[in-house]
């Protein structure tokens, strides 16, 4: 270790390299770079200092009437398009292929997740998602196979909705989005921002980038097939599918964001 540092010092101090080191120091001292450095350090400190949004456990649904209408439209889309499509897709693509498309699609969503991890200053998740992306993109043949999960690198799922939560933005009201279904004001904004900031869109040239979008859509159709029992039971067998899907979305989303259940989330039927 000691000799390594000495070697490095000797290397840096060789006359040949000195001009470069000097130039670098000079560059770092120019006013604009200094300003940029200070500004980004302040921005990071501000992010680190802001507290996540306060916990909520109630249902905030002021647009219920409109949301219910959208829910009925989404159910019709499911019945007319998604359900038959997923059946056909299941027949054509079968289990393993549909799994491969799902893996490919979720691998392509990792760069966006890593970006969000960084925006949340969640470096452990950023590193584990980066390791997962590297492993699956290479050994997993462009992400078709998930070799990372068995090696203790499961996906640390995140999105810009969570970033907004970490930054202190409140959940907002419940909203039923067209096609997508249950969401909240905050998560709906997150969806749009995630689409815009997705690094894959900026790295891949135009025709290739659509492969990502296409695989996301195919993956959704595959999910509809794989979870058909559940989707059927929530959408078509429960007495009030709107209230049921709202409850599922809000409770699982809050549990994921808050990390644990608190006394406010827990039922106490004995106290009633």
């Amino acid at each position: 270790m000691q000799s390594g540092i000495q070697l490095l010092r000797a290397y840096v101090e060789t006359p040949k390299l000195n001009p470069w080191v000097n130039r670098l120091v000079l560059l770092l001292n120019t006013r604009s770079v200094r300003f940029f450095g200070i500004a980004s350090a302040l921005a990071l400190m501000a992010l680190a200092a802001c507290a996540p949004a306060p916990r909520v456990s109630e249902t905030n649904d002021p647009f219920e009437t409109q949301n219910r209408k959208m829910h009925e439209i989404n159910k019709k889309i499911d019945k007319a398009v998604l359900k038959p499509l997923s059946g056909a897709y299941g027949t054509v693509a079968g289990g393993p292929m549909s799994q491969g498309v799902g893996n490919f699609s979720s691998n392509l969503s990792l760069p966006g997740m890593i970006l969000n991890d960084i925006l949340q200053l969640n470096l452990p998740d950023a590193f584990s998602n980066l390791a997962r992306f590297s492993l699956n993109s290479t050994f997993g043949i462009a992400g078709i196979f998930d070799v990372a999960t068995p090696n203790n690198l499961p996906e640390a799922s995140t999105n810009f909705g969570e970033t907004l939560h970490v930054w202190g933005v409140a959940e907002g009201s419940f909203i039923e989005l067209p096609f997508y279904g249950a969401s909240t004001g905050r998560d709906a904004v997150g969806l749009v921002v995630d689409f815009i900031i997705d690094p894959v869109n900026y790295v891949l040239p135009t025709p290739e980038r659509y492969i990502g979008t296409a695989s996301h859509l195919a993956s959704k159709v595959g999910d509809r097939g794989r979870y058909s029992d559940l989707v059927e039971s929530v959408l078509y067998e429960s007495e009030d599918s709107y209230a049921q899907s709202r409850l599922l979305y809000l409770q699982s989303r809050r549990r994921a964001l808050y990390g644990e259940l608190s006394d406010d989330d827990l039922e106490d039927p004995y106290a009633e």
Binding site: Q251, L261, D268
Partner: protein
């Protein structure tokens, strides 16, 4: 985001499956350590696998699940909570019939889902004191799905230590059933006798 969505679906799928577990946990006061609770859940899973692999007819499997549900869970409090405010205005005999009908409905509804547990396992990760009793954390590893969190609410306020709720990735079984049952009651214009009769038919 597709992953979140998938997780929600998967959790809910398993909520349905695990709900049958709700009350399969014979927890005594001394059982609230990781080791003992884990052993108990292992026993429960073994019991369930025995039923699933018994080769019995579906209707007799449901009866076995109903017996497990009644033995380890505080069924009266779960039933009461699922009815919401309507419980208070019900007569004593209605309450009694409702609890019995609800028990059969639960066994029928969730018994179907138990096949998904074949080859799976649940690992208890810890227990902590909460204002409503104890919350026992666990992770479910089922075939073909990523591990997910199952948290069990346990109390001795009934006089015995019993399970009264569970949360799959945060989704509460009591809240899910309250949403379902109150919607059923609304659809029957608040006619509790009609609801009880229909639940009896379903169970």
């Amino acid at each position: 985001m597709p992953n979140n969505k998938a997780l929600t679906r998967r959790s809910a799928l398993t909520l349905a499956a695990a709900a049958g577990f709700v009350t399969l946990l014979p927890l005594k006061a001394t059982a609230l350590t990781n080791k003992q609770a884990a052993d108990l859940i292992d026993n429960v899973v073994a019991d369930i696998n025995k039923i699933i692999n018994s080769g019995k007819s579906e209707s007799s499997m449901y009866r076995d699940f109903e017996a497990l549900f009644a033995k380890y869970g505080d069924v009266p409090i779960i039933a009461r909570s699922s009815l919401g405010v309507a419980w208070r205005s019900a007569s004593a005999s209605q309450q009694q019939r409702y609890v019995a009908a609800f028990r059969g409905y639960m066994a029928q509804k969730y018994g179907k889902r138990f096949r998904e547990f074949i080859g799976g396992k649940i690992v208890v990760t810890g227990a902590r004191k909460v204002s409503s009793g104890y919350l026992v954390g666990s992770v479910a590893h089922l075939k073909g799905s990523a591990p997910f969190s199952v948290e069990w609410q346990v109390s001795d306020k009934s006089g015995q230590v019993k399970m009264f709720n569970l949360y799959i990735e945060g989704i509460s079984l009591l809240a899910t059933e309250r949403t379902e049952i109150t919607a059923m009651l609304d659809k029957r214009r608040g006619d509790l006798n009609k609801l009880i009769a229909d639940l009896e038919k379903m169970g």
